[in-house]
Amino acid sequence: MNTFKRLITARETGILIAFAIVLVATTVRNPNFTFSGDGFRDLLVTPAMLIIIAVGQAVVLITRNVDLSVGSILGLSAYLTGQLFIGTDLPIPVVALLVIIFGGLLGLVNGALIALAKVPALVITLGTMYAYRGINVMWTGSDRVNASDFPKAFLEIGTGKLWFVPWLTIVAIVVLIAVAWVMRNTRSGREFYAIGSDPAAAHLYGLPATKRIISAFILSGALAGLAGLVYASRYGTVDSQAGYGLELDAVGAAVIGGVAIAGGVGTVWGAAVGALLLTTINRALPVLGIPDFWQRAVVGVLIIGAIVLDRVLAVRQARRLAKGADR
């Protein structure tokens, strides 16, 4: 009963309900949105990329940092994927591994600068967002990688599915479960929360803040690299603008899912559900008869609504705790 109650009142459940409402409303309007083969596939596969990035972003946000460079890392990784396939005969798993390691290294640069030089993540990742994108544009120029440059098997990962679940969705779910498990059950996972909710106390307690913050950024970078692979295999063409502006979507998804910008609060589940809601709403609006130009406005309302809600809930809880203490 207790578990059930906790499940019902969880912050993530609210967003899941919102997602369900959007889904039902859209499907009533146009059953193909869910029940046609393509509709169902899109429903599952479109959120995959944002979920992967939002999971990494959530871990970074929980440590009271932010990673604005993920869109740029995704772009570089996606282009690197294409170049590796063009320039070498490496098998797909090796290419994938190299690209993920590459993303992790870019994340390491962020994390090392932030944790060692003790400068704010906002500034550093804003800087590397520009730098990585600049490197991408210089490297790519007006060139682009086309579908014909990729091995067939790689593109089939982007279109294929296992039974009825697209491969890319499975990738996102595996990432989500793995990271969620670490964040919930392991010692280092809990340390992320401790560092984010009270840095000074975490320091006094002797937690390895520098190490954890660096690893959060490595994770975020590596996941952005993975998302680059997903991008390449789903879309087949990569130019220098791949993933442009995605960093704000990733932060938005995490915030909608209840991850606090101020750190220490939220789960990667929440971020993933936020990403699911965001991408689905974007696709649902035109079906519901709202021109898709209004997408961003809806996203904005969602983000603001989510943080106001979190604030109200926090104030109520504080009041309830204070009452309990009086008794």
């Binding site: 932010v66 804003l126 000074a200």
Partner: protein, 343 residues
Amino acid sequence: MTTASLPRTYRDYAHSGWRRALLNQGSIIIAVLVVVTTVAIFAVPHFGQPITFTYLLRDMAPALLIALPMTLIIITGEIDLSVASIVGLASVTVGVLVQGGVPIEVAFLVALLVGAIAGLVNGLLITKIGLPSLAVTIGTLALYRGIAVGLLGTQAVTDFPKFWTDLAKARILDTPIPVSTILVVVLAIVFVVLLHFTRFGRGIYAIGLSDEAARFAGVKIERTKTILYVLSGTVSAIAGIYWTLLYNNARGDNAMGLELSVIAAVLLGGVSIFGGTGALHGVLAGVLLIGTLASALRLANVTSDVINIITGVLLVLSVVSTSFLRWLKTARSKPRRTRTVER
């Protein structure tokens, strides 16, 4: 924003006035700006021509304008990511109204009002409900941009009275200085006076150094921050009106992404993201430095995308070097008891 806590020792203030004036990051950026401009004039063909400066000052005006209130906001320890979206919203407001037959002067006023209200919404969400400004303005970044794009769709309004579009492009007499520079200079003076020579301005620094101490000192924190966001919205709207006239174009996606380059320039100009420090001269130099570099590189036929890398690297260097210098200082001097304020 980070678990990193910067010790702010009072020894930073121990130097005499002129040393502090010369050795801060703002002055260094001004020096870099002078060097870059000089080198470019001699080394880059056509850069020395007056027309280059006209274009440079014209195109940089929106960023210069927005950087003014942004500096004040960052000094209080907050941030405003929604500025570029307000530029777009103001631009669309002017476009829609003029298209509907409203006199353009009235449209200007409405756009200014829209900007002020957009800023007020930011300010109230941050001060009254107590939400973090980064989260709020990421939300309104999407919201305001969404309204702007939603109102016009893929349309663009390009039919504005010639008098106004000419004025936006005009130069002062025969000098290469565009008329818009007057606007920038006037507003810059207003903001310099506001920040450096008024009680309100001292309050801004006090809030950035310590919310609590400022409150005890009688600074009205909520009111100050709300006013700053309203100013930021209004100035962004001015930039939006100017943008519309200069490029004779009202579109929902005008000035997309400008917020991050303005913030980059502000931080480059020596304003600490932790709040409490920074001055406007460095910020204006920071904006001009990025613009000058971009313009010089374009003329030198270096692909202008390099500017992204330079902006990014400069930004990272500007913060890392500060903490590296501080580390050097503490490593050199014997450990002594200094009072530090952990933030």
